[in-house]
């Protein structure tokens, strides 16, 4: 997959690119409005990660142009402004998702994958990792084509793991992904442990031992 990261903060741009690159994707970057619009004119991208406040212009204008040209390209808006109006405006203009700063790279990654999966960008309704297959339409999981019954949260968890395979995920990241803003209510993330443990048990029963503990309190989904 080929991404364009249009973000004027070089540090953030670099980190995002690095994180996404590790999935054998091609990440190009643009640091301002002109560079972004130039690259969008010249090349085709599967997905654009678009910052709304680019130094020399508004990301919304870029989005408008993209949609006017009917480009087959997913757009995820990242913005420092979490006002609903901004969000709605972005989504109305045709953005596929909206994420507010600060965010976890794993979360951004999972959103990107979700956007790409939604058919029209050449994605697939099923995700496969070794012998595990997820049907994202039916929200069901299979190991060696044998369905395993997962709770809603366990399914989300597994999807999140597979999307961010090979990366270390802390409990906080997982909690935030699964419960969004409600996760800040939690004093500790022991609660996550229950869900992860249940999922791990179910997978292990079918012989899929991919959830590994990293640094004592984090998790990593990785093929041995």
């Amino acid at each position: 997959m080929k991404y364009l990261i249009a973000e004027d903060e070089k540090d953030l741009q670099f980190s995002i690119a690095k994180y996404l690159n590790s999935d054998a994707n091609i990440c190009e970057t643009a640091s301002d409005y002109l560079e972004a619009s130039e690259k969008l004119e010249l090349y085709e991208y599967d997905l654009v990660v678009l910052d709304l406040n680019l130094v020399t212009g508004s990301g919304l204008d870029l989005l408008k142009r993209l949609k006017k040209q009917k480009r087959k390209c997913g757009v995820i808006i990242i913005s420092a402004n979490n006002s609903l109006d901004n969000k709605l405006e972005g989504l109305d203009l045709g953005a596929d998702d909206y994420i507010t700063k600060p965010f976890h790279l794993a979360e951004l990654n999972s959103r990107i994958k979700a956007v790409l999966r939604r058919g029209q960008f050449g994605g697939d309704d099923s995700i496969t990792f070794q012998e595990i297959r997820l049907d994202t339409l039916a929200r069901s999981a299979y190991v060696n084509d044998k369905p395993i019954s997962l709770t809603r949260k366990e399914y989300d968890l597994l999807l999140f793991f597979i999307t961010n395979q090979g990366r270390v995920l802390s409990k906080a990241i997982i909690a935030e992904h699964l419960w969004g803003d409600d996760s800040d209510l939690l004093d500790n993330f022991d609660f996550i442990y229950v869900h992860i443990n249940n999922l791990r048990k179910k997978l292990t029963k079918e012989g899929a031992k991919y959830i590994q503990t990293a640094y004592g309190s984090g998790y990593k989904f990785i093929a041995d």
Partner: protein
């Protein structure tokens, strides 16, 4: 007034006395003339007397009291007596005139004065009143407007101008002052929001960098713990920012999409969400149906914040009671003791305990939302005697009855 009254009294008295004396002299002269011509004079009782005397006497002017039988009282007379030789005979002529008593003069003056004063007073009172009313009208109109003035409102203070220079100046200064206050207030609000927004990007960079470091490998367990804790700090800042922005937005009146919301349903949904996160019992007691017209996201925030506050400060993992009755919603959690400053529980950054990681904004957002829709939030504490485990209950109540569409 008093002085002029006294002066008038004496002046009148002197004037009258003079007049009487003049009259006496002229009467005397008249009698003398009659005597000279006619040779005799018939006495007028008390008033004019002519007597033949042997000796000459000096002319004398004096006061005398004479009984007046017709009026049956003793009257004060002024008397002039003198001798005169007319046609060789020595006559003593006495003329008298009744004096108006000083008391009468005094009464007359006092009465007149008071009447005049009274009339003048009434006249001036009403004149003044109507004049003042006219004169102060702009002042009082402006005062009412000032009382109704709110810094939060976007509308500038519309004052009535006046022709009176002082009022005009006051009006001018007030206008400058209030517009300055309003601008400052607006700037302050904007500042909070701007700062919160500006902080998001650096926070995003920090978080992204931590994510990168963690995934780069080459760190040990302790370092991972520290990075994780850094991440949770960042997420706390993020929550704080979000809440500050929400507060600013409520203050800026940016929630106008109202819809009818069933509070019962919302509470049940929120509880369902919470049950996933906490192993605490939530007991919902619905004795009424409450529908309110408000912004959906604010309603969600309201329920979320009330419940999360109850969960956060719950004691001993006891059950949380939610009661819906009349037009009231109560969220009740167990607690050890009454808050030390219950009146400040809805204030920003009020924290009862230092241990809990809370932004201190949750309840102030509840209050803001309530204020916005004219709901009434209250806090009370109920001591429970019958149970040793459960020492008391914190009751947060929201009264929706004051709310009108």
């Amino acid at each position: 007034m008093m002085i002029s009254g006294v002066a008038l009294y004496f002046y009148t008295k002197i004037l009258l006395e003079k007049e009487i004396e003049e009259e006496l002299y002229s009467n005397k002269a008249r009698i003398e003339r009659i005597l000279a011509q006619e040779g005799e004079f018939i006495d007028f009782e008390s008033i004019l007397q002519v007597k033949k005397v042997q000796h000459q006497e000096a002319e004398q002017l004096q006061d005398t009291l004479i009984y007046d039988p017709s009026q049956n009282e003793i009257e004060l007379f002024r008397q002039l007596s003198g001798t005169k030789i007319i046609n060789g005979t020595n006559y003593k002529i006495t003329v008298r005139a009744m004096i108006i008593e000083s008391e009468d003069i005094l009464y007359a003056i006092v009465f007149t004065f008071f009447t005049i004063i009274f009339l003048a007073f009434i006249f001036l009172f009403y004149l003044n009143k109507s004049r003042n009313e006219k004169l102060w009208k702009p002042f009082f109109t402006n005062l009412t407007k000032l009382k109704n003035f709110s810094v939060r409102s976007d509308k500038p203070l519309q004052l009535v101008d006046s022709e009176v220079l002082e009022f005009h100046e006051l009006h001018k200064e007030l206008k400058i002052l209030t517009s300055k206050i309003q601008t400052d207030y607006k700037n302050l609000k904007q500042f909070t929001e701007d700062v919160s927004h500006e902080m998001q990007t650096p926070l995003a960079i920090m978080q992204a960098k931590i994510d990168t470091v963690i995934n780069d490998g080459e760190i040990n367990e302790t370092q991972f713990q520290q990075f994780s804790s850094l991440q949770s700090d960042i997420s706390r800042l993020k929550q704080l920012n979000k809440k500050l922005i929400l507060l600013a937005k409520i203050e800026k009146d940016q929630f106008t999409t109202n819809e009818v919301i069933s509070l019962n349903k919302l509470i049940n949904d929120t509880v369902l969400n919470f049950k996933e996160l906490f192993s605490i019992d939530f007991l919902i007691e619905e004795n009424a149906t409450i529908n309110v017209k408000m912004d959906f996201s604010l309603a969600t925030v309201l329920c979320n914040n009330l419940l999360s506050n109850a969960v956060k400060h719950n004691f001993n993992n006891q059950s949380i009671d939610i009661k819906i009755f009349d037009r009231k919603l109560q969220v009740i959690n167990a607690g050890e003791e009454m808050l030390s400053r219950p009146d400040q529980v809805f204030e920003r950054f009020y924290k009862e305990s230092r241990q809990k990681e809370s932004t201190g904004l949750g309840l102030s957002i509840v209050k803001k939302i309530c204020d916005y829709y004219h709901f009434v939030p209250t806090y009370s504490f109920e001591t429970v005697h019958y149970s040793k485990k459960n020492r008391g209950r914190h009751i947060f109540q929201i009264d929706f009855s004051a709310y009108k569409d």
